[in-house]
């Protein structure tokens, strides 16, 4: 009897048969995600659906005893292969752990399980006057997973990049650990660390390699009396960058994002029913926008008391103009960029994912390989230049970029995305070429500009660059998970 068979037999005494499966039909759907090239997939040996922390504990203790590796999967969305199994691994699908345990209005946080979706949390938060820290994430995605991996959302500008406060994690030995203030009985989930070291942080960006996180307290943001979208336009990126640095550093906006014109046309595409890319998006000179269209826009979210927002808005407009940009009144944005206006309002003001029917089915004809990094503000202009050179050498139009102050104004998130239309089979070689180019690029950008990969892309050579930091983490990993059963396939350790 193999170890997997033994594990299965043991788990059958814990899990009802309808929450554990070795059926090929079930396993197959867990083998691929958006990142999977055609024909490439590895089936897990088993999929388990726990409902409680105790079930997770029983599962991990057994898996550890039989030395069977496990892959935690919060629920989706999965676009980068981080929850895909390698040979012999068990997928622990956490989608049934989907309770919002508490929304603490007083302390502005929510205690949630990993199967809770962004939309689920956003809806509940909204009812109580809050916005989810992660307004731009996919509605069906897991708030816990995204929060643990650093949020892709934009409220990190004013309030800081990490929405995670305290958490509960189950380790392979079966310990159920609560971190931060939650380590004490009755102290609540309000604080990430203190008076002792930040153990919460150890489990962030660990991608399931140290344990399975079963509860997280995530910060919520008070919506204030009023929420507003402020749009300014710029003819190039440098003044927009200065504008973003200023208004965030001086707390004039909750967040601000710069979108180049191609990205704005992409928003239009999403809101339309067009079946083909408009020709202007495919033009060779991607640096020059079509006539009458700004090079890019900066969209800022303002919230709070009306009087304060009025003053903030006025000041932002003045700053934009002093830097050579200009204000775009809502009527103008709505008239010239209706799709962009709808998209920005939905995510940045309402904090909700677009609804079915409001997003274009055009998405079904696109691939969006992305290159996501963080860098200090001083390095961002060099990154923009590097990106144009990269695009000219390696990519076909259209390509688009956006940038935003991420960690207050201490660093910028920079996303460069290549938009591919056509079938995966036709574009397979191009996709693989870009993937390979990205891998090299991450190393180059780190060496040249100190720009760091935003999320781990399963490149073990990247972790190796961290020196003693990485070595210490390896030692910690060996203590927590001596049999290396926790998501070894993700190549972090």
């Amino acid at each position: 009897m193999s170890n997997v068979d033994s594990l299965y037999d043991e788990l059958l005494s814990t899990f009802p048969e309808d929450r554990i499966s070795r059926d090929e039909a079930i396993l197959t759907s867990y083998a691929t995600d958006l990142s999977s090239p055609p024909g490439v997939a590895t089936l897990p040996t088993m999929v388990v659906l726990p409902k409680t922390t105790d079930e997770v504990k029983n599962l991990l203790v057994a898996a550890n005893r039989f030395k069977v590796p496990v892959v935690p999967m919060s629920r989706g969305a999965n676009i980068a292969g981080l929850a895909l199994p390698k040979k012999g691994e068990v997928v622990v699908d956490l989608r049934l752990m989907n309770k919002i345990i508490e929304i603490n209005s007083d302390a502005a946080y929510a205690l949630i399980e990993p199967g809770v979706t962004h939309q689920q949390l956003s809806l509940e938060a909204k009812k109580k006057g809050f916005i989810n820290h992660l307004p731009t994430a996919t509605g069906g995605g897991s708030s816990v997973a995204n929060a643990l991996m650093r949020p892709s959302g934009n409220l990190s500008a004013r309030w800081d990049p990490d929405p995670v406060l305290a958490l509960e994690v189950v380790t392979p030995s079966g310990d159920i650990i609560r971190t931060g203030s939650a380590s004490f009985e009755n102290a609540g989930w309000r604080a990430r660390y203190g008076p002792f070291p930040d153990l919460t942080g150890l489990f962030t960006c660990s991608y399931g390699t140290l344990g399975i996180v079963t509860k997280v307290a995530v910060k919520l943001i008070d919506r204030g009396e009023e929420e507003r979208l402020l749009v300014t336009k710029f003819d190039s990126f440098p003044p927009a960058l200065e504008y973003m640095k200023l208004i965030v550093r001086r707390n004039l906006a909750d967040s601000v994002t710069f979108w180049n014109w191609v990205w704005n046309l992409f928003h239009e595409l999403m809101a339309s029913k067009l079946q083909k890319l408009p020709p202007e998006m495919l033009k060779e000179d991607q640096k020059t926008p079509p006539p009458g269209m700004p090079f890019g826009i900066a969209s800022a979210r303002l919230s709070g008391y009306k009087e304060v927002i009025d003053a903030q808005e006025k000041t932002c407009i003045r700053l934009a103009r002093e830097l050579g940009g200009d204000y775009m009144p809502p009527q103008e944005v709505e008239a010239t960029h209706p799709g962009t206006w709808a998209y920005l309002n939905s995510y940045f003001v309402d904090g909700m994912h677009l609804k079915p029917g409001e997003e274009s089915t055009m998405r079904a004809a696109l691939w969006l390989p992305g290159w996501l990094i963080n860098a200090e503000p001083s390095g961002v202009l060099a990154l923009e230049k590097e990106m144009w050179n990269f695009a000219k050498k390696e990519a076909k139009p259209p390509y688009m970029f956006r940038a935003l102050p991420f960690n207050h104004a201490r660093e910028f998130f920079f996303a460069f995305v290549i938009l591919i239309s056509g079938s995966l089979e036709e574009e397979k070689d191009y996709m693989l070429h870009l993937t390979s180019a990205y891998t090299n690029l991450y190393h180059e950008l780190l060496a040249k500009h100190g720009a760091i990969m935003f999320r781990f892309r399963q490149d073990p050579t990247y972790f190796a660059l961290t020196g003693p930091y990485g070595e210490l983490l390896r030692k910690i990993k060996n203590i927590i998970d001596p049999n290396n059963i926790m998501h070894p396939g993700v190549n972090l350790f």
């Binding site: 499966s21 691929t32 958006l34 989706g76 999965n78 996919t138 079915p356 079938s423």
Partner: protein, 407 residues
């Protein structure tokens, strides 16, 4: 591995672009994040969602796996209610259920079909109906109605009863009410009696596309011979078949296809049916999938984003009944929870179908309604069984039966 299943290009592209968010399983608008996918809610694994099915289809297309009995079993549990296609922004198929229909057609080719469906199709081939009943009994439901037979005399409007209404005696009243109402409104209506044949829609949904084509051609030939320009039916499945599937197959021609709720609503508005008697009940309305989500996308392809679905006519009818108070459930219209009978589930997986119906009945009760109204014989059959199962006092009516009470 075999290379037995190849998807067309747009279906394969769809499978590769799923981000596994399972957004296809949740409602929106007034039912945001409420479950709308019966199989996903019942069986929990991602596999049972449209996204999961897409990953499975992708693996089959890429030759990584072969179609097995277990996979077919999973695919056939789907009630093909269309909620996933409504919810997922990635779906852009003329037929929302194209993925499921395509896979089922391949299941038929490869002989991986639930035994219950094999029996049903054998019955269809022998007796032209999906109920495994002798074709000679088809016209019994209309005995004593004194309605024209379009195979013998001319009529302006053809009323198609459908297999379920024809052979399920408990459902005869809904068809009889419909015909009575049409006659009372002065409509020149006729039926085909024992010569009526199955629309073929359910055969299409369980993967027997050849049988569907045969019955589409047979029906259109009969209607052409009878000079029929307008078809009315009380069956949501038949409506979907004549309205959408026949059109997609290029068989519909100029035939006007109306569901009884559309036609009754028209007659009430034209004052040809006067609802004067009070029916003092609190009613809640269940939207049949085949009148809503499954009809809408096809219209979208004709250039209109919305409008094909039949959501308003039944509600307008109910609101025009004196004394009746309409209490809506949370999951209505696009978000409606399937009764569980669709896509052949009622035949192959009756326990599952019953489970889905019981969930809907609980939701109906939560509105405070004492009457559950629907507009489809398959829904009515399944709800009837579910109500018996939990000894509910909730009364169940087809909409035509309630209208008749108000005359």
């Amino acid at each position: 591995m075999s290379d037995g299943i190849k998807l067309n290009e747009h279906l394969y592209n769809f499978t590769t672009r799923c981000v596994r968010c399972a957004g296809c399983t949740f409602g929106y608008k007034n039912a945001e994040f409420e479950a709308v996918c019966p199989i996903y809610k019942k069986f929990n694994f991602f596999t049972y969602s449209l996204g999961g099915t897409a990953q499975l289809a992708r693996a089959l297309h890429e030759g990584r796996i072969d179609l097995t009995e277990s996979m077919a079993d999973m695919l056939y549990h789907c009630t093909t209610c269309g909620a996933c296609g409504e919810m997922c922004a990635e779906v852009d198929f003329p037929d929302t259920m194209e993925m499921q229909h395509e896979l089922r057609a391949r299941c038929v080719e490869l002989g991986q079909v639930p035994f219950a469906h094999v029996i049903t199709i054998e019955g269809l081939k022998k007796d032209d109906n999906m109920m495994q009943k002798p074709k000679a009994e088809r016209g019994k439901w209309a005995q004593g109605l004194k309605v024209k037979d379009i195979t013998k005399e001319k009529a302006e409007v053809y009323y198609h009863a459908g297999c379920r209404c024809c052979f399920d005696e408990e459902l005869w009243p809904m068809a009889r009410s419909a015909v009575n109402l049409l006659k009372k409104a002065g409509v020149d209506v006729g039926i085909a009696g024992k010569d009526e044949v199955c629309c073929g829609g359910r055969a299409f949904e369980i993967g027997y596309q050849g049988e569907f084509t045969k019955y589409a051609e047979s029906n259109m030939e009969m209607l052409k011979t009878a000079g029929i320009k307008t078809l009315v039916t009380s069956c949501a499945d038949c409506y979907y078949a004549f309205k959408v599937l026949y059109d997609m197959a290029g068989k519909k021609g100029d035939l006007e296809v109306l569901h009884i709720t559309e036609y009754l609503n028209r007659l009430i508005k034209e004052d040809r049916l006067k609802l004067t008697k009070s029916v003092p009940v609190v009613a809640t309305y269940h939207d049949p999938c085949h009148l809503g989500r499954k009809v809408e996308p096809w219209i979208r392809q004709e250039g209109k984003l919305k409008g094909g679905e039949i959501y308003q006519p039944p509600r307008e009818i109910l609101n025009s009944i004196p004394g009746l108070k309409l209490a809506e459930m949370r999951r209505i219209k696009e978000n409606a929870w399937c009764c569980g009978a669709g896509g052949g589930a009622i035949d192959a997986y009756p326990d599952f179908a019953l489970w889905a119906a019981l969930e809907r009945i609980d939701e109906a009760k939560s509105t405070g309604a004492d009457v559950l109204v629907t507009a489809c014989p398959w829904c009515k059959r399944n709800f009837t069984d579910a109500l018996k199962e939990n000894n509910s006092t909730l009364k169940l009516y087809d909409i035509a039966e309630l209208v008749e009470q108000a005359l």
